[in-house]
């Protein structure tokens, strides 16, 4: 009865092998590496780049362990840091002929030292969390209200264009909060307008008002779409900005409905990171008002005319700009510094199709007038540049040139590029962890697990003898499985995660204690050893299941409601409960069966002293028969 069928042993063996295989990469440590990724949205990283890097390395006479393309970047691993630095220089020189305007980001990074055949099996080490590795962490809140307001502004513009195209006369279009308000003089026009608007802008709910006007509000569904799109665009923009920082492995993730997490390993300089990431800027393109009234207002001789606003032009003093937004930063695909036909520095803008169409109309109607590109940071606007429109701008490519230096052109391009956030964001949580503290945390975490494990195993072996050895082996197997599954999931290991590993091991031994105590109890009751093993395992199982279910309830609650570091704890905790069920029941039974199962005339078990009450002679500790 204490024998497993062959398939069960095979299953255990396979589990053991897989566990060992996927735990293995964590043991190799990390080697210096160089990571090359794209610095520009338009430049794609592909296999060809790998060949270029290999060639560059060969030319410089630098020996790499390997060069690998992994989907979004090319990584090359090196034996030591000297080679790594040499390689970085060589690759940088080969890929970025103009260091001021790099096409690729060449960053130093760490890669697992594990051999390639392991990597080929997708056996990668766990990611280390920021608290173990050092770096900065930001949690950013996206201002969704602003995103909706912006959308409403765009809708006002859309409605105006549509009504004009169809020659429907209205008595004014404006935005009130997040609703579009259109006034009409007669009912006929209103009916025509309603038909048109309902047809063309179905995402807006249009309602006729008693005063003869029409109001339009985004339907709840459309609002969600707007918010999701805003979040997505912000994440993309953040990616671009972080790329400018040259961080090797940034994490930029959505959290909840309106938050973004940014983690930058290795970066300690929060000031600079924040400067680039936290730039809560949005872009708008509007026309400059050059009427006599506004010129008077500029001189301070009158109020700012209706429908215009006063802004400061960078370095050129105040300027009066119309309120109506012609284009927003969404339409801007790229902005690069360049040179015009006279070889003076310029900024080259690329617009998307919709933006190009609007720009074409706008420029045709406004030749000789000035347009202004405004950058809004935290609700405050500033005119980045206000060029004169010389000719009709078709094709979505705009060249802004004028009195500027190369540096100014490149700065303006950077600002414009970074400015295309769909909604402003604010940093609501910030964490920095020094690299030495991270290393200390790893060491402390590992020391806790190691010493705790050793103490528990030693106690088990002394108290339960051979059964204790089996229990300790099962505990080791549990640790193996846990780390393997965490590696397989590519989970991020944090200090609370390590604490959870320690705790799981401490709790997992509970199952084996239960089993061993039951076996002893059966022996005490006078059952034969083989029978005792069988009954012990069988009867203990119900209790083991119970205890794991209650622990799992707490674990799942933490998983669902926890955030940040607690989530890491909960993942390990829940996973550990599952692996411990398998290892402490199935695996330890397998060991016991393997050892005792074939002995037909088993007299005693090595499970420590089985003490019997009622004055009977205590049967002394027995070694294996």
């Amino acid at each position: 009865m204490n024998r497993y069928p062959l398939w069960k042993y095979a299953l255990l063996l396979v589990a053991l092998l897989i566990g060992a295989l996927y735990t293995l990469p964590n043991l190799f440590g990390e080697a210096p590496a160089v990571q090359v990724s794209s610095a520009k949205v338009t430049v794609k990283v592909d296999g060809a780049l790998q060949a270029r890097i290999e060639a560059a390395l060969q030319q410089a006479g630098v020996q790499a362990d390997y060069v690998q393309f992994d989907g979004s970047s090319v990584k090359a691993r090196f034996g030591d840091t000297d080679t790594q630095l040499k390689a970085k220089d060589a690759i940088g020189k080969a890929l970025n002929p103009e260091p001021a305007d790099p096409t690729y980001i060449v960053a130093l990074n760490l890669l697992s030292r594990s051999p390639q055949w392991l990597t080929a099996l997708h056996a990668n080490p766990m990611y280390l969390g920021l608290d173990l590795r050092g770096g900065v962490h930001f949690l950013m809140q996206v201002d969704m209200k602003a995103a909706l307001t912006k959308k409403a502004d765009a809708l006002v513009g859309d409605a105006r264009t549509m009504l004009r195209d169809k020659n429907i006369r209205h008595a004014g279009i404006s935005r009130d909060g997040n609703t579009v308000v259109i006034a009409f003089r007669d009912a006929e026009q209103r009916t025509a307008a309603l038909d048109l608007l309902k047809n063309q802008l179905p995402e807006v709910t249009w309602t006729p008002q008693a005063d003869g006007g029409v109001t339009g509000a985004l339907s709840p569904k459309a609002q969600v779409v707007v918010q999701e799109a805003a979040l997505k665009q912000n994440i993309t923009t953040l990616h671009n900005r972080v790329n400018e920082l040259g961080v090797a492995e940034p994490v930029i993730q959505q959290q909840g409905l309106d938050r973004v997490v940014v983690q930058l390993p290795g970066v300690q300089d929060t000031a600079k990171a924040k400067d680039i990431i936290g730039r809560t800027a949005t872009l708008e393109l509007r026309m400059v008002d050059d009427s006599a009234e506004s010129l008077e207002a500029l001189k301070g001789n009158g109020p700012v005319p209706f429908g215009t606003e006063r802004f400061i032009d960078r370095g050129n003093g105040p300027i009066i700009v119309k309120r109506q937004v012609a284009l927003t930063g969404d339409a801007l695909i790229d902005a690069q510094p360049g040179f015009d036909e006279n070889h003076s520095p310029s900024v080259d803008l690329t617009l998307d199709a919709k933006g190009a169409r609007i720009m074409k109309d706008l420029s045709r109607e406004n030749i000789g007038k000035r347009m202004a590109i405004l950058l809004f940071e935290k609700g405050k606007g500033e005119v980045v540049t206000a060029p004169v429109i010389r000719s009709e701008l078709s094709g979505g490519r705009i060249k802004i040139s004028g009195a500027m230096t190369t540096q100014e052109a490149s700065d303006t391009a950077l600002l414009l590029r970074a400015g295309s956030l769909a909604a402003p964001m604010e940093i609501i949580e910030e964490r920095t962890i020094g690299p030495s503290l991270g290393k200390e945390n790893i060491e402390k975490g590992i020391a806790s697990v190691t010493w705790g494990f050793a103490a528990v195993a030693a106690f088990m072996c002394v108290y339960y003898l051979l059964f204790g050895v089996f229990s300790s082996l099962a505990l080791g197997f549990n640790l193996l499985l846990l780390i393997a599954s965490l590696s397989l999931m590519q989970a991020t290991l944090t200090l609370p995660g390590i604490a959870a590993i320690a705790l799981v091991l401490g709790m997992a031994i509970d199952s084996n204690v239960l089993i061993n105590e039951r076996v002893r109890e059966e022996l005490r009751g006078g059952v034969s050893p083989q029978q005792a093993i069988n009954l012990g395992y069988e009867r203990a199982f119900a209790t083991i299941l119970d205890s794991n279910v209650t622990t799992l309830i707490a674990g799942v609650a933490l998983l669902v409601f926890g955030s940040g570091p607690i989530k890491g704890f909960a993942v390990v905790h829940c996973l550990g409960i599952l692996t411990s069920m398998f290892s402490s029941v199935v695996f330890s039974r397998g060991l016991v069966n393997l050892w005792y199962g074939r002995q037909k005339k088993l007299k005693s078990l090595s499970i420590g002293q089985v003490w019997k009450p009622e004055g009977e002679e205590a049967s002394t500790a027995v070694t294996e028969a």
Partner: protein, 344 residues
């Protein structure tokens, strides 16, 4: 080796009143301290700023405090963290202050106080990872103070976390209760949850009394230990059920005594081994894991006590009867039952 050689069932339930009185007093004390002193929440819950700096020599706390207090951030806490060289500075949230700039400013002032200047510094670690950070350097190149960690939490995030924490606790308690009620009977569910919630309150009471920092990690420890020690009650209730079936002559008192006595060895050994792990965390885990391990220790110790003595006693007082537990299983397990089939 066998540690527990208990000849007769210990007459524990005779002293149920004493146990419950002890529990009640500790519980009342815990509530008292929770109310009068309150918990010392970490900035994860309250929002605020924590800055950890390391000095090359033993830190002069008074001087550091003086420097930071002069900056006018309101109530500032400056204390050693881990070792005498590490200093933790805690600043509250202030309206109108740009929170994310506080860290840079404070570090700048601390640096200035030690006659250094802050500059940007890039380096490549021995492993080959590029690191850029703000460093404080004296003219002679020495680093008088290092920024090891900083954390800034906005007040909104804190409020949300506190809410989520309460939800997690609620769901855990409810889940365990439902499970116990399905598995046993409502009286056991109530008894089990009261016993273990009283642990939670006592852990919180300790944190309130000593004004230890109550962080998210501590909360996780409490929830984990709640799930863990409830199973102790489960084991005992299991035995109670079994004893009701096996020993038909015993009254409820004796049955519970028997159940507790027979599981005593297992209870102490399992909790002991878990505690071994926790002690290892206390010794080697460093300051970050310190309160996590402390919460676990208190939880485990009181977990044994409450699930063994308190839960069973409450169940007894709630009037657990044989009929509550045995009715469904009787036909299957009792060979004396005339309705049972032949036993092989």
């Amino acid at each position: 080796m066998e540690l527990f050689r208990i000849k007769r069932d210990l007459p524990l339930m005779k002293h149920a009143l004493v146990f419950n009185a002890i529990s009640f007093i500790t519980f009342a004390a815990a509530v008292f301290f929770l109310v009068t002193r309150g918990l010392h929440f970490s900035i994860e819950f309250t929002g605020g700023t924590v800055i950890e700096v390391a000095y090359p020599q033993s830190a002069d706390i008074e001087k550091t405090r003086h420097v930071v207090e002069k900056m006018g951030y309101g109530e500032v806490q400056v204390q050693n963290f881990g070792s005498s060289r590490d200093v933790m500075i805690r600043l509250p949230v202030r309206a109108g202050e740009k929170q994310t700039e506080v860290v840079g400013k404070v570090f700048g002032e601390l640096c200035k106080a030690d006659a250094g200047t802050v500059s940007e510094h890039q380096e490549v670690t021995a492993q080959g990872e590029q690191i850029s950070k703000q460093v404080c350097k004296k003219p002679d190149g020495a680093e008088p103070v290092k920024l090891s960690r900083s954390e800034v939490v906005g007040p909104a995030v804190g409020a949300e976390l506190a809410l989520d924490a309460a939800k997690a606790l609620g769901v855990t308690v409810l889940g365990i209760m439902i499970y116990l009620a399905i598995r046993f009977e409502w009286k056991f569910a109530v008894a089990g949850i009261i016993a273990n919630l009283h642990d939670v309150v006592i852990i919180l009471g300790f944190f309130a009394f000593f004004q230890w920092e109550f962080s998210l990690a501590v909360l996780a420890a409490i929830l984990a230990v709640l799930g863990y020690s409830v199973n102790e009650s489960v084991v005992i209730f299991d035995r109670v059920r079994e004893a009701f079936r096996k020993f038909r002559k015993m009254n409820t008192h004796e049955v519970i005594d028997h159940a507790i006595t027979s599981t005593m060895s297992r209870t102490i050994i399992t909790h002991g081994s878990t505690q071994l792990m926790v002690v290892s965390m206390l010794l080697f885990g460093g300051p970050t894991l310190h309160y996590f391990a402390v919460a676990l220790t208190i939880g485990i110790l009181f977990g044994i006590y409450s699930s063994v003595f308190v839960a069973a006693a409450i169940a007894m007082w709630l009037g657990v009867k044989r009929e509550d537990l045995v009715k469904t299983a009787i036909s299957r397990d009792d060979p004396n039952d005339p309705n049972s089939g032949a036993v092989v």
